[in-house]
Symmetry: C2
């Protein structure tokens, strides 16, 4: 029994059930999954090569012998919220559940890169998964590949992870090794990681230049978003009812969550739960005493960088970054 | 397939596989489990009663509507390490795997107690599980019951938890509600929590006065311990080999871990990993270049309160709190 909402079986894409989310972590079996091709055979090692003086293939055992780091990270698909666009945009029709949080453990990417002797001309680091196929309309077989600018790749928080919530990474989440790029949309966290390549020219592959872009800009940090996880559907009228949800942003910590119970006419600040990690969502709650009748609940996040979640969708032709606050209809009886 | 080491099937007692531990968290299916009786039917609510002005039975839905708290907590059975005692002590024969770490989410116990109007004469809070049976040799049927002194019960860190690593608590770990008392041995974290009772006299029940005691002192905080999780068995000679493990103490943060590779003749300080929570174990590592032959590895923890893990077992008749550093034999070939 998969407790998720299956969006497509082949390749496997599934949303988490936000109504089941409790506490900061999502169990791996309920974590949203995004894949572009069939799940590959797990690579036995990851190669660090390209413009480096001393290339090396690291086995899992070698990585596990290095100092480990752990981080609690919210990952969100850049297509989360796409299904609310009218007319529809192409791509997987995600509602709001293409987001989840896990504790990832592994080694700092920089600790694998720096000892290899990067060429001074290095501008980007490319990550290649073991998964490959022919994207519709392209007619050519490619691997899933995505690059990071050098400074982002060398930041302390980027992990080559071998564990998720304390266990080995499940196949669907990228076993045995997954790149984890906190604060960025999930496309940067390359699964089934097989190759790490130092590049002296910017990468222009399909998933860098034709998908996961807005215009000619490759997608980066997650835009702020708040989601409501409870209540859903029907509630008792004239009884104090908590409204509960999560909020996150890749551009800085969530500073405030505003909640409206009247379709956006009036707004109140929600109480924020503990900030457990700079890269993880934050729980929020607000009390509500609903009158009998139908109500429209809206929550929106504002981050420390001052960016507020919009109330209207910004329409991108490929349906990325639709972080518009999504009203939820509740009947109080 | 249970990935644990089964110590007894009925009641269910199982150790975690420390050799599989990665990062701070243990997945619920690998978390050690301790039970005294058969698993009970899950209680539908938890009653707060006894010496209070306004008793109340909380449903799970009511608890989930209250502000939530999450904490990463290492729980250890007070009998962990008992199997190394010679002659053997009675009780479950735990090796070193009766310890695991999870993120628990729920409500602060104090937030359930204080609004009920505690009698000023309250001295202890009693916790009763839904599990019951007749302990061998007693001839009477009792529930699993354990109390906390009032000040410990009202401390901020004690949780009535409804989630474990982001999911509902599995049956074997106390579904739907478990008391979680960070820094204390696991017997205080009552599973299948059904009743919370304010007492004006100290509790003297079986698991408070006849078990989980040393002499007439009920057990409390975990003593410091370090465990080695790698390497195990055989290693390659003359190759740099990391020694890796975890360390914890309920009496204060771990200040230092010392490692010997020559049976205790010489000692080196291990490098400590990040302290992710005041109540969670801490990973440690040390590099080792083994000569060909047999070696005796020992790790010991020293906590911030100055308590050092002993090298010799302190023998308690019931085999509790045996935190002696346990040598591991490794062959380098």
């Amino acid at each position: 029994v998969d407790e998720r909402v299956i969006v497509s079986r082949e390749p496997f894409n599934a949303e988490t059930r936000l109504d089941l989310q409790q506490g900061p972590l999502t169990p791996p079996g309920r974590h949203y999954a995004r894949s572009h091709f069939a799940q590959p055979d797990p690579p036995a090692s990851v190669t660090v090569g390209g413009a480096v003086g001393d290339p090396h293939a690291f086995t899992i055992a070698e990585l596990r012998a290095l100092p480990s780091r752990s981080a609690t990270v919210t990952l969100e698909c850049a297509g989360n919220g796409r299904s609310f666009l009218r007319p529809p945009a192409p791509g997987e029709q995600w509602a709001l559940g293409a987001v989840s949080t896990a504790e990832w453990t592994g080694v700092a990417l920089r600790s694998l890169l720096e000892p290899r002797g990067l060429s001074p001309a290095t501008v980007e680091i490319l990550f290649r998964g073991a998964d490959a196929g022919t994207p519709p309309g392209t007619g050519r077989r490619i691997a899933f590949e995505r690059s990071l600018p050098l400074d982002r790749a060398l930041a302390d928080d980027v992990l080559v992870a071998y564990a998720m919530n304390g266990g080995p990474i499940p196949t669907e989440h990228g076993a045995p090794l997954r790149l984890v790029v906190p604060t960025w949309y999930g496309m940067a966290s390359v699964k089934w990681l097989a190759e790490i390549v130092a590049l002296e020219q910017p990468f222009r592959g399909f998933y860098q230049a034709e998908r996961y872009v807005i215009g000619d800009r490759p997608l980066r940090e997650m835009r702020p978003r708040a989601v409501i996880v409870a209540p859903l559907g029907e509630v008792a009228a004239a009884r104090s009812t908590p409204i509960r949800g999560y909020a996150w942003s890749g551009h800085g910590p969530v500073a405030r969550v505003e909640v409206s119970t009247d379709g956006g006419t009036t707004w109140r600040d929600a109480r924020l739960g503990a900030a457990i990690s700079p890269a993880a969502w934050r729980e929020w709650t607000v009390e509500w005493m609903p009158d009998r009748g139908e109500h429209e609940l809206i929550a929106r996040a504002i981050d420390a960088a001052g960016e507020a979640q919009p109330l209207q969708a910004r329409r991108d032709p490929l349906g990325y970054e639709n972080n518009a606050a999504q009203p939820a209809r509740i009947v109080a009886a």
